[in-house]
């Protein structure tokens, strides 16, 4: 933000002032967030800047500015997650939608981190000679669980209100999915860094994670947000058990973590994503069928 000190005048004890250029933009309603919020906060405490603002504003626009300021004073300070998202440049309305996402709460992220730490410790304990199977089997399930916990009547207490709101259910689902998936994949990625001895093999969880999540979301449109991820998670475990029984030697990677398996995962991801887009209107109606 282009702040400058003017003639050494203290601005309400802050020691700086909003530049005249920014005040003109503020008066026109053209100052973008988060500069706008800083200016709002500063103007409440600085008589000098308010006077400059009055000089550079037309009265009608100024009234709008005071109204905005008034509304700003009423707004409570955002919580930790919202503040973090705002600092990352996320729009304030999107940040608030994300703040209501169960899978982005510290308790969930903490639980995922604990599970990953444990898994990494066990995997590392086997040494680098074998395959990091336990980690690779578990890692795709965590983003899937995070996305499953982000939407639906069982876990979102305001689901019923959200369904009848004009914001498309699919848009809300996607906003939360991207955030929950980002958090899940990010934690998995950090855990992967703790297994450097396995090289790129330790990253073969990524495509299955995307495939499981996309498949669960596509099935959610038909089966609901509890049954669909449960079936997909169960299917993944069954697939791994089958692959384990079918592999030739203990040291061979399971089929989903081979090159062919990775290709299948990529194809499933693309197909499920396409199906999800086709079924997007189904997310505008309540998935809970009981009265």
């Amino acid at each position: 933000m282009t702040y400058g000190t003017t003639g050494g005048t203290s601005g309400g004890g802050t020691g700086w002032h909003v530049s005249e250029e920014d005040l003109r933009a503020y008066a026109r309603g053209g100052l973008p967030a988060p500069l706008l919020w800083s200016a709002d906060t500063h103007l409440t405490a600085c008589a000098h800047c308010r006077a400059v603002l009055a000089d550079v504003s037309d009265p009608v626009a100024l009234d709008g500015g005071w109204e905005r300021l008034d509304a700003e004073l009423d707004a409570p300070r955002p919580g930790f997650l919202e503040s973090l998202l705002l600092r990352l440049g996320i729009a304030d309305h999107t940040a608030r939608l994300l703040a209501a996402t169960p899978a982005l709460r510290r308790s969930w992220l903490g639980a995922v981190t604990a599970v990953l730490l444990l898994t990494v410790a066990v995997t590392a304990g086997y040494g680098t000679g074998g395959s990091p199977t336990l980690f690779l089997a578990l890692a795709p399930l965590l983003p899937l669980a995070g996305v499953a916990l982000s939407y639906g009547p069982a876990l979102d207490p305001t689901y019923e209100m959200a369904v009848v709101a004009p914001t498309h259910g699919f848009r809300l689902l996607m906003i939360r999915t991207v955030a929950a998936l980002g958090a899940g994949l990010g934690l998995n990625g950090l855990a992967t860094l703790a297994l450097p001895g396995y090289g790129l093999r330790a990253l073969t969880w990524l495509l299955p994670a995307l495939a499981l999540t996309a498949t669960a979301l596509a099935l959610t449109a038909r089966l609901g947000p509890v049954l669909a991820p449960s079936l997909v998670g169960g299917g993944w475990i069954a697939l791994l058990l089958t692959a384990d029984a079918a592999r030739a030697g203990e040291e061979d990677p399971l089929a989903p973590f081979t090159a062919a398996g990775q290709g299948v995962s990529a194809a499933v991801t693309a197909l499920a994503a396409a199906l999800l887009v086709l079924l997007r209107d189904r997310f505008d109606l309540n998935s809970r069928s009981t009265p």
Binding site: A71, V164, A165, L172
Partner: protein, 286 residues
């Protein structure tokens, strides 16, 4: 006058149960009460009209828009306020943050305009002083008012309230009724309840629903008039009465077909309601 809501032949099955059976109604400005015993289909009808679930058969329009299409559904939702039977809250949100969250879902993305709207509806609901309090620290009555404030965001033309006074103590109920009465000015409000006092105090019109069908549609006075000459007092419960209960005076109030020479009483809305149900699940204490 063009009705706000016009529904025709709405039917919906849940498993083997027929929750709604050929329900037709037209709603215009003012508060309409939807009365019925538990399991009558009130919540199902409200959820259908609020576009939360689609009906199996039949159609309806809200302000001329057909929610059967994606575009029509969105237009309806832009003019809709909905208070579910058990409104849920994000536990860490303050009252302001929660209503702000609902305002965002209602497409109010401009921060200043949205905050102005949120402050307005919280003041309207009498929550101006507690807007910064976490919802988990508010009483049940206050939470219900937060949910009503959220329903009022965006000045909806059609307000759907599902049993808003249930679980409130008498004083909270009275305050909530005042809020609903004010919210009903110039709007079309559909209020489901199983309390006849809610209807008597708030509604210009009442629809009685039982077993998924409309049993009565008219004014509260017309529903009361159904019991004219069919309510009488006796020292014991009259075996010929369709329903009867002991009053605070120790005598029994009976509704049904009175015996000759019975001591007839002035009917109430509740009497008319019980006679309208007539075997459809009315629960009375004898």
């Amino acid at each position: 006058m063009t009705p706000t809501v016009s529904a025709s032949g709405l039917s919906l099955r849940h498993g083997g149960t027929r929750a709604l059976d050929d329900v037709s109604l037209r709603l215009s400005a003012g508060v309409t009460g939807l009365l019925g015993p538990n399991g009558a289909g009130k919540t199902t009808l409200l959820r259908v009209l609020a576009t939360a679930v689609p009906a199996d058969r039949g159609s309806f329009t809200v302000l001329g828009h057909d929610p059967g299409t994606s575009r029509g559904r969105q237009e309806v939702r832009r003019r809709l306020g909905y208070l579910p039977q058990t409104p849920g809250f994000h536990p860490d949100f303050t009252a302001f943050e929660f209503v702000d969250y609902v305002a965002i879902l209602k497409e109010l993305t401009d921060r200043a305009a949205r905050h102005r709207e949120v402050r307005g509806v919280l003041d309207e609901a009498g929550l101006g002083d507690v807007r910064g309090k976490r919802i988990r620290k508010l009483s049940g009555g206050m939470r219900q008012r937060v949910a009503l404030a959220a329903a009022l965001v965006g000045d909806p033309a059609f307000l759907v309230l599902d049993e808003p006074t249930v679980g409130l103590d008498p004083e909270q109920r009275m305050r909530f009724r005042e809020l609903i009465a004010r919210a009903g000015e110039g709007r079309t409000v559909l209020l489901s309840t199983h309390q006849t006092e809610d209807v008597a105090m708030l509604c210009h019109r009442v629809v009685v629903l039982a077993d998924g069908t409309v049993r009565f549609d008219g004014t509260p006075a017309e529903l009361t008039a159904r019991a004219a000459g069919r309510v009488w007092s006796s020292d014991g419960r009259d075996p010929g009465a369709k329903a009867g209960w002991r009053t605070g005076l120790g005598t029994f109030r009976n509704v049904g077909d009175p015996p000759a020479g019975a001591d007839l009483l002035e009917p109430t809305l509740e009497d008319g309601y019980l006679l309208t149900l007539d075997g459809a699940g009315a629960e009375v204490t004898a």
